[in-house]
């Protein structure tokens, strides 16, 4: 990797609030300064977005100060700055254009650079998540303070800046600190304070990461606000908050659970099922305790029943419509042998579905849906598969392809006995 070195700041003013100062902060010096890839042009549009906030947060646009408490996404132009207040709930989550995520704690002022992944922490606390990319990223995330610059390509760091100095805690991977032409690598698990007198290096105490992550993230505050709205039966507002929370924190359990409840209340069955499925994955224990898993089974069954009835009722229309591309229906295998092996059919079907599902791009239709459909159109009464009827089922499901099969289990002992007799 190309080594990077910081430049001398053209202007550094901690107390600066106007965006013009933020712009100056990111105007790097030429030779000897921060070297960057030549193809890294200044940003034209947004440097990122404010994805989620809790409490009062102020955005400083060029010549404008825009206080907002909205939880909607807001584009952050290059040269802008975000400030949280001293209020206990004032937090913000910023997602930069290359996917890096920054959480702002309270009393924090963060400027956004004019180039990719450059930020200026003038005061306060942030946690930065530098994300890897499939094709290697060509520039690190730069977090500038008045005391130096922290570069982070992949990893998670806590950075606090104030008048007395800077504190950095690297939780994952490593960060490189630049100051006065010197560099220092800070390893994962290390915390360092760069003060005016001496640098203090220490190990990060246990649980500190979790404490800081929770403290600085807006997640818990937004979740709390959503739950309160939900309890006050303001479902529309709760829905909006939880949707925004889920957009930022896809695996937030409370958002999935409450959105499921809200969708259910509105009669939006598929959406409710989707949310609760997610909830059951995120927090299976609580899902079982709250009865969500049990309720989910009933809901899925209900939805499939509705869909199948709808499909049969609209068979003529469906038969004219095009099948879903790359969809495949695996018909339940039919037992042609001893009745005691009937249960084996489900297992065999599940195995085939599981294998087929691994093929990228193939959509496998749900086994239960197929079974319901077969029940509905009375195809399985004979216990034997009629190809025509199965094709009809596939058409109803709008499947492009169908897998059918039957099986028979023979007892070896019986075969041996038969062989002996022969």
């Amino acid at each position: 990797m190309k080594k990077v070195r910081p430049s001398i700041l053209v202007a550094q003013t901690l107390s600066a609030i106007l965006v013009s100062c933020a712009i100056a902060v990111f105007a790097y010096a030429g030779p000897g300064g921060v070297t960057r890839k030549s193809d890294q042009a200044p940003l034209q549009d947004g440097a990122g977005v404010i994805e989620l906030v809790s409490g009062k947060v102020t955005l400083y646009l060029s010549k404008h100060r825009t206080p907002f408490a909205a939880r909607s996404r807001m584009i952050l132009p290059p040269g802008s700055a975000v400030q949280t207040t001293r209020d206990a709930d004032s937090r913000a989550r910023i997602v930069l254009d290359d996917g890096d995520v920054i959480h702002l704690g309270p009393s924090t002022l963060l400027g956004v650079g004019r180039r990719h992944s450059e930020l200026d922490l003038r005061q306060g606390h942030v946690i930065a998540y530098a994300m890897p990319t499939i094709i290697r990223r060509d520039h690190p995330l730069f977090l500038r303070t008045t005391h130096g610059v922290l570069a982070l390509t992949v990893g998670k760091v806590y950075l606090a800046a104030g008048r007395d100095g800077v504190e950095i805690a690297v939780f994952e991977n490593a960060g490189r600190w630049y100051r006065d032409g010197l560099t220092k690598d800070i390893k994962a698990g290390q915390r360092i304070r760069f003060g005016s007198k001496t640098d203090d290096l220490a190990a990060i105490p246990q649980k500190r990461e979790a404490q800081l992550s929770r403290w600085i993230s807006p997640e818990a505050w937004v979740e709390k606000a959503g739950v309160e709205l939900f309890r006050n039966k303001d479902l529309a507002a709760a829905r909006q908050i939880f949707s925004q929370l889920q957009a930022a924190f896809l695996y937030n359990a409370a958002a999935a659970y409450h959105l499921g409840m809200i969708h259910l209340d509105k009669g939006e069955l598929p959406e409710a099922i989707g949310q609760w499925r997610r909830y059951a994955v995120i927090d299976p224990k609580r899902a079982r305790e709250k009865g969500v898993s049990r309720h989910l089974t009933t809901l899925i069954s209900q939805r499939i029943h509705d869909e199948v009835q709808h499909a049969v009722a609209n068979e003529n229309n469906l038969s004219r419509s095009r099948p879903e591309p790359n969809s495949i229906a695996v018909h339940p295998f039919v037992n042609r042998g001893d009745a005691k092996y009937r249960a084996l059919g489900k297992g065999l079907t599940a195995m085939v579905i599981s294998d087929v599902a691994k093929i990228p791009g193939i959509k496998v239709l749900e086994r239960e849906r197929i079974q319901r459909l077969l029940d509905e159109i009375k195809l399985s009464e004979s216990g034997l598969v009629s190809k025509d009827k199965t094709v009809r089922a596939a058409r109803l499901l709008r499947a492009e392809k169908i897998v059918i099969g039957d099986y028979a289990v023979e007892s070896r002992r019986r075969s041996d006995e038969e062989s002996k007799q022969e």
Binding site: P132, T133, V170, N173, A203
Partner: protein, 470 residues
């Protein structure tokens, strides 16, 4: 046995703390670019839209990883790896698999990375850890040897050697410790003289005492032998011998020479949350260069872990002490002691801290009532350990003891009772691995309704010692 699993766990937690920061420090830009044409080719097949989708998924997976939601991150990494099996993705997938306790998957992916690029020492070290997690110490050791062959930087080499040592220790069934120290101690009240030097015994009788102070040589020796029965069943056997001798060089003080030999042995058993020790022991005490007493004891003790760093101790001790000389036979006794309290361990300011707060209740039934008592005691203790080999400890205790009868000659004062305050401070520095020097200070203040037992005593000294682990 438990010790093995404890040892492996401690290795893992130690390395989790270390977290291979140096790995990333070596290449701040994250894992190196894909070295194989095949992989690059695979990526080239992806359309910009597919790359964007995979990046979005990777961010989700990484966000979960960073927030330690490894269980949720793993399927996402697996999904991404199916489409883009880059070294970076395999690396994160393997680390996540190790975190969720799937060492086989971690091993598979780490090995895939090393097949493409065998020079990655950091990955090889993580592979060794994954083997260790699986319980395959032979494979782990082999990977560490390979890692050393790559001639890594000094700091990395030290970590590898440290890990190898841990594994070696974890493999050992027999572990022995020998510790001995010798040094001068100052005793400001050798004969435990009361605070008041003239004590009125009544009927015109007066007891005059003279406080003796001086130096003695303190010699301590401790030997411990531990046998691990193996992981299955989590049982072990431990045998200890502790020897203590105070030699007063001044001929006038030699009658205060004291020697104690305490030998004990017993089974130990440990599960994930519970640890119990069942030692039985024998104590031989000598005073004034003569046999004083012999005691037999049982001291079962259990520790229940409420978390990784917090446990609660519950102990019981039965001791039957027989005084050798008939003159002292009145003091022969049976003592029951119960101990209870929490112990907490934490890390801060670059050092390990251990804090305990134990309470105890004891009942002694002696041949003579005036030596029988019940008491309770309570107090905190602290130990801190720096990485530099410096250890500090503080022990504070308050004890309240009520005897069953008055002290001999002080009957009018009623049953004897005492309140004792104890403070012990010590500072130890280890050097050259097997040697240490220790400075200690202890102070006892004993308040009693019987003037004869109202005293204080101060001990201070420096010991030099050796410590060997086999």
């Amino acid at each position: 046995m438990r010790r093995s699993s404890v040892c492996v766990n401690s290795i893992l937690s130690f390395l989790a703390l270390v977290n291979f920061g140096w790995v990333a420090a070596e290449d701040l830009g994250g894992p190196e670019p894909s070295p194989t044409g095949l992989e690059t080719g695979d990526l080239r097949k992806l359309s910009p839209r597919e790359v964007a989708e995979l990046n979005a998924k990777l961010r989700q997976a990484m966000a979960l990883y960073y927030d330690q939601s490894y269980r949720l991150a793993l399927p996402l990494f697996q999904e991404i790896a199916q489409q883009a099996g880059t070294i970076d993705i395999f690396y994160w997938l393997a680390r996540t698999a190790a975190k969720v306790g799937q060492p086989d998957l971690a091993i598979e992916k780490f090995r895939s990375i090393l097949q493409r690029d065998p020079t990655r020492t950091s990955v090889r070290l993580e592979l060794a850890l994954a083997y260790l997690q699986k319980g395959d110490r032979v494979a782990a050791t082999a990977e560490l040897k390979k890692a050393l062959e790559t001639q890594p930087p000094e700091s990395v080499r030290r970590q590898i050697e440290q890990l190898a040592q841990y594994i070696e220790r974890a493999d050992k069934r027999w572990v022995a410790t020998l510790r001995a120290s010798l040094g001068p101690q100052f005793d400001d009240n050798i004969n435990v003289t009361p605070t008041d030097s003239i004590i009125n015994l009544g009927d015109g009788r007066v007891l005059r005492t003279e406080r003796l102070e001086g130096w003695f040589i303190d010699f301590d020796a401790f030997a411990d032998l531990f046998y691990d029965f193996g992981k299955k069943g989590a049982f072990a056997w431990r045998g200890d011998v502790f020897f203590l001798h105070h030699e007063y060089p001044d001929s006038a003080d030699r009658e205060f020479n004291y020697t104690q030999t305490d030998a004990r042995s017993g089974l130990e058993h440990a599960t994930a949350n519970f640890r119990v020790r069942l030692p039985a022991g024998f104590i031989d005490r000598r005073f004034s260069n003569e046999d004083l007493s012999h005691a037999f004891y049982l001291a079962p003790r259990g520790e229940y872990y409420l978390g990784r760093d917090l446990n609660v101790t519950l102990g019981y001790r039965y001791e039957d002490e027989e005084f050798v000389d008939d003159v002292n036979d009145d003091q022969s006794n049976v003592t029951h002691t119960g101990t209870f309290g929490p112990n907490y361990r934490f890390q801060a300011w670059g050092m390990d801290h251990f804090v305990s707060f134990l309470g105890a209740y004891a009942v002694r039934d002696a041949e003579a009532e005036r030596f029988s008592y019940s008491d309770w005691s309570i107090g905190p203790s602290y130990a801190g350990r720096w990485k530099s080999g410096t250890e500090a400890s503080v022990y504070l205790r308050y004890l309240d003891r009520d005897y069953d009868a008055p002290a001999l000659g002080f009957e009018p004062l009623g049953d004897r009772d005492e309140q004792r305050y104890t403070a012990v401070l010590s500072l130890t520095q280890t050097f050259y691995r097997n040697y240490f020097v220790s400075a200690s200070f202890s102070y006892i203040r004993n308040d009693s309704n019987v003037p004869l037992f109202d005293y204080d005593k101060l001990l201070a000294g420096v010991n030099f010692g050796v410590n060997f682990n086999f």
